[in-house]
Subunit: 331 residues, 4 copies
C-alpha cells in the first residue's frame, strides 16, 4: 500500500496540507556516511517556483532526520525523515470543496474513504508526498556507487522544443503534458528477478506512483510494436553483452544486460488547469462552471525528472541488494 | 520474485522444456465451485498453433489440480495446478547453444545464474510460464462476478488491419510486434491503494512480467502528454462519477473511478525471427551468422490477449479483496 | 525487519536516546474516530516510575499525530505517531561504553553493525520502542469491538505473591524475572491462517519482539508435554465449540475456537542488575568488575502487561482483517 | 498464510488424503548441487512406523522435483517438490465424520471454511504437510555450511527416561506429550533483525506451524523468570562474545551472539488418543461416546526432532541470507 521494496523498504506518509510529509526507510546498511546536506541538492531540484510553469508554493523542504543516524552515519536502524508543511493555503480548497475537480482524486477519494479523506491540496494523493521519495533516493544512490541516473523532459505538449511547448500553454492559459526520459548508466548485468519482479515491473510499479504518470515504455517501447524482429533485435557482439543498438533499453528478459537503461514516461497535463471547467457541484447536484483555486504547476512534467530519478533509484537499489546477496552466497 | 499479490497470492514455477510448469495460489476463499472445465476455455485460447503466425508447438495444457479442491469446491487451502511439458524438442536448443540469441534472455541468464540456468526453450523465462497465470486468472475472475475483462490485438506491425500487418511479416520472413488493448467493465469505484499500489502500478507490474512487453499506457496514455488540461480532463457530470470522455482510462489518482478501465501494451517483435542474424558465438568468440531453431510465434502479440486479461484479473482481484476488507470493517 | 502485519501494518523506528521514537501504521480503515486521548490510558500504564521496581526515568510520552487524521477521524492514509525523547541522560552510557553489558545487545549490536549502532540506552534495541506498539494497539483495539485483552503479572522471581517476589529482589539488590499471562475474550471463531500464520505463530512472533521475553506457552503449554491425551483434550459439547476445560488455550489447529485465548510469557531478569558484575572491558581487553549505570527497571515484567496486550492486539487485528475479508467475499 | 521467509521463501500445499503434498521454494541461489538423494536421509527420519509409538501409515515420501533443477544443480528458478499420497485410508474418516475430534482442527476448520474443508486425515492441517518443510530444509542446510542443527526428545510424559515415559502411555492406552530440544552450532554472530524479526520471533513463528506445538523457550526460558539478574546474565569474557554460561541460549537482543543456540518446544499429547472420549455428535446434536479411527502416533514428539530441525533451518537460512547481503554491501 504505502510501502515499496523488499530489502531497502520505504514507507511514505503525510498530506499536502497536514502537519507534515515524510518517509521511513528500513534496510539501510550501517556505516553509510549521511547528513542532511546529502539530500539537499535533489530536494532543491524538486521544488516548485524555480522556473516558469511551476507552482508558486514554496516550502523549505528541509529534511529532519528523526531516527537512524548517529555520529553522521547510518546505524542500521530505520531512518525516518520529516518535512514540515508551512506554506499551506487551505482556504483555497475550502472554497471549491463543492466541486470534485476533474482529473483529480477528489471524487474517487471521497467514494473510497467515505468522505473522511483529507481533501486539502489533494491530501495524501498530492505530489508533495514525492518529497520523501526524493530524500530516500538520495540515500539509495549512495549504495550504488558508479551508477548514474539522469532524467530530463524531452517533450512538452508534443513539442521537443520545450520553450515553445510551454509558451503555447501559457498563451492558451491552459496546463499541458509532457514526456520525461530517464537514462541509467553503470548498472551491473543481472539486476531483475523473474518471473514477476523484472526491472520493467519494478520501475513501472513505482513510476506509476508518481502523480500524473499515464504511460511508460522501455527502449524502443511503443515504437517496437511497429518493428520487425530483424530491426529490433540488438545483436550481441561482445562477451560482456554490450550491443551497438539498444532497442531493448538495457533490459532483456526483465534483466539488465549491461547496456544503458533507457525509458520514458508520459505525464498528463496538470489536472488543475487555469481554464474554466464544467463539473458537478456536489451541493447543488448540477453541472456548473468553475475554476480551480490553489497554486499549481502549469506543466508537472517540468518537476518530474528528479522525482523519476528517485523512483528509479528506489526500484534499482532493492534489486541491487537482492542480486548482491545471491551472487555472494554461491561464490 | 516469483510471487505476486498480497491476499490472492500466486507463485509461479517451471521451465519450458523441464518436466512441468505450474502455479500455486494462496488466498482463494473456501466454497467456490471449481473444476478443470472452468479453466479450459482460456487455456485453449492461450495455445499456439491455432492460427497463422503462432508456434506449431502444441501442448495439451490440461490443468492438473494437486491440492486445494474437494468435492468440486475450493477448500480455502492453497490450490496447486500443474501442466505437463510433453511436446518438447530440446535438441533444437542444444544445437544453437553456442549462440546467445539476440533479444532473448540467454545472455543475461547465463551471466546472472553463472551458467546454471535451464536454457532449453528459454527455461524459466519462457512465455510458457504464463499458462499458470491464465489458469489462476480463471479462478480470480470467479471472485469478481459482474466484471468483464476483454483484450484484443489492435495493431500488428503498425497496421490496424491485422491481416495486412501479419502478411507483411510473413512476406518479409520476419517476426513482428503489435499492440494489445484491454478493457475492463463492471469494476466498482475505489480499487487501488495509495501511494504505491495504484491500479496502474499493479497492472503495470504484472503486465511487464509477460514476456516481450515493452510499454504500457492507460487511457489517453502517451497521447495525453501532447494535450492541454482542458482537453484531457474528463468532466464529472454525475454523482456516480461516470464521465462522457474517458481520457483517464477509468483511473484517477491511481483509483478506479467507475468508468471503463482501458489500457494498452506494446509488444516487441518475437526475438526469434526466422531471418538470419549476426551474433556472438560463445565457443569461437566471434560474431557469426546464424538462424534461430525451435518453434516460435511470428507475432507473439497474437497470443497475448488472453494472457493480458489474466494479468489484469490477477492484479484486480488482489485490490478487490483488499478494498472489500476495508469497506466492510468500517461500515 | 522493523515492520509487522500484512494488512494492519506497523513500522517502528527510533532510539532510546535519539530524538524520538515512533510508529507508522498503514491499513487503518477510514472513518474511525481517533484522538490522542484514546491512546493516553495505555501509554500511561506503560510508563515507568509509577511503582516500586520500575525505572525512575520519566517521559511525557505524549503521542504526536503527524499524518492520517483529519477532523478527528482516520482518513485511510498512513498514521504516523511520534514521541519525543526528553528525559535522556546519555552521559551514563558514555561512561560505561567500554563494557558491553552482559545480557544486553551491546556486544551483538557492535558486531552486527560494525560499531555504527546508537548504543545510548540500548539505542534501537531499547524497550522504549514499545511505546509505539502501545499507541498502535490502542487503534487496533478500536477495530475489534467486543474483544477484551487483559494481561497481568502472575509471578515474580518464582513467587505468585508478587509483593514478596519483588521484595526479595530489592533485598538482594538484584533484578528479577517474572511471568505475564494474557487473556483475550470475545474473539470470533476462525482467526488464524494455516499453515504458517497460526494464531500462536503470529502472537509468538510479535511477543518475542518485546525485549527480555524468553519463552511463550499457550493454554496448558509446557504442562501439556507431561499430560496424556485423555487429560489434555477439551471435550466439545456445544455446536458453538465452547468447551468446559481449556487446555488448548482457545486455539486448535492454529485457529481460534471461540474459547478464551490464554497464554503466558517468560520474562528474564532485567539485564541491568544493580549488582556488580564481571565483564570484558573492550578498551583493556581484560575481564573487570563494573556496575551498570543508567536508570532501569528492577523487574521489567512489571511494565510488560500493557506491552503484551498491545502485541496481542496487533497480531489479532491483522488476522481479524484477513478473516473478515474471506468471510465476506464468499457469503 | 502458507508461505514463510523473505528471501529463501517457501510455500506449502497439499492435504493428508488428497493427491499430494509438496512445497515450492523461491530464492535458492543458482549452482547448488542438488539431487533427491540429498533429501532422503531427513525424509526417512521423518517417517512414521519406524519405532514404537508412531503411526503405522507408511508412505514412500519420495521427493519428485518438478522444477528448478538442471544437470544436477539448482538453476535459480523456483524449486517445486511433490510427494504422492498413496497409503491413504480415507474411509476411516468418513465413518467418524459426525464427531469433530477434540484437540483436532475439525471443528474450527468446519466453522472457518464453511464446511468446505478437506477433512480427511486432517486435510491441510495434517502433520503430513511437514514433509515439504523437511525437504526444503535439506536445501537450506546446504546454504549454511558449518552450521549443525540437532534436535532430540528430552522428555516424554514428564519422564526424561524416554522409554519409561512411552511405556506408561502404552500401558495406559493413551497418547502422551513431550519436550523436544534443539541445538544449533556454528552460527555466525549477528543473525536476526530488530525490531520484529528477532531470531526468537522467526524460529517461534515457524515452530508454531508444526502441529501440536504449544510452547517454546530459548536458553533458560521459563526458568529465567524465576532467576535474579546476577544469576541469569552470561558474563562476556572474550572479544568474540563467547560466554561460559549460556542462559541466553545464544541470543541477546534478538541477535545471535556466537554461542550455541538452544531452545525447547512443548508438544501436546496426540489429540487422537486410543482412549474413548465424549464429544459432540454433529448429526444428533448430543454428546456421545466415541473412539478415534485412523492410524496415529501415540506420541508425536517422537517424530518432531527432524521437523523442528527443518523449521529451525528454514528460519535461520532466511536471516542468514539477509545478513549476508547487509554485511557485504557496506564493506
Amino acid at each position: 500500500m504505502n510501502s515499496f521494496g523488499r530489502i531497502f523498504r520505504i514507507s511514505i506518509f503525510g498530506e499536502s496540507h497536514g502537519e507534515s510529509v515524510g518517509i521511513l526507510i528500513d534496510g539501510v546498511p550501517a556505516g553509510l556516511p549521511l547528513t542532511e546536506q546529502d539530500l539537499l541538492p535533489d530536494l532543491e531540484r524538486r521544488k516548485g517556483g524555480k522556473q516558469k510553469g511551476t507552482t508558486p508554493r514554496q516550502e523549505a523542504d528541509y529534511p529532519f532526520f528523526k531516527s537512524g543516524l548517529f555520529n553522521g552515519k547510518t546505524t542500521g536502524a530505520p531512518i525516518s525523515i520529516f518535512f514540515e508543511n508551512n506554506n499551506t493555503r487551505s482556504a483555497d480548497y475550502e472554497k471549491q470543496r463543492s466541486f470534485p475537480r476533474p482529473g483529480h482524486a477528489d471524487m474517487v477519494a471521497h467514494q473510497k474513504y467515505g468522505g473522511n479523506e483529507d481533501y486539502r491540496g489533494g491530501g495524501h494523493f498530492s505530489a508533495r508526498l514525492t518529497t520523501g521519495m526524493v530524500a530516500a533516493a538520495a540515500i539509495a544512490k549512495k549504495l550504488m556507487p558508479g551508477v548514474t541516473i539522469a532524467a530530463e523532459v524531452t517533450e512538452i505538449g508534443g513539442e521537443s522544443d520545450l520553450e515553445k511547448g510551454l509558451q503555447r500553454a501559457i498563451d492558451a492559459k491552459d496546463s499541458v503534458g509532457g514526456i520525461v526520459e530517464c537514462r541509467v548508466n553503470g548498472l551491473p548485468v543481472g539486476l531483475g528477478e523473474p518471473f514477476f519482479d523484472s526491472v520493467e515491473s519494478q520501475i513501472a510499479h513505482i513510476a506509476f506512483a508518481i502523480p500524473a504518470v499515464k504511460g511508460i515504455e522501455f527502449g524502443a517501447g511503443f515504437a517496437a510494436a511497429k518493428m520487425f524482429g530483424s530491426q529490433h533485435n540488438d545483436a550481441i557482439e561482445n562477451m560482456d553483452g554490450k550491443t551497438r543498438t539498444n532497442n531493448a533499453g538495457g533490459i532483456v528478459g526483465g534483466i539488465t544486460n549491461g547496456n544503458e537503461l533507457v525509458f520514458r514516461i508520459a505525464i498528463k497535463p496538470t489536472a488543475s488547469t487555469p481554464k474554466e471547467q464544467n463539473s458537478l457541484n456536489w451541493d447543488t447536484g448540477k453541472v456548473e462552471n468553475f475554476s480551480v483555486k490553489g497554486r499549481h504547476d502549469l506543466c508537472v512534467a517540468l518537476r518530474a525528472p528528479v522525482i523519476l530519478e528517485a523512483a528509479t533509484a528506489l526500484a534499482l537499489v532493492d534489486l541491487f541488494l537482492l542480486e548482491q546477496k545471491i551472487k555472494r552466497v554461491v561464490s
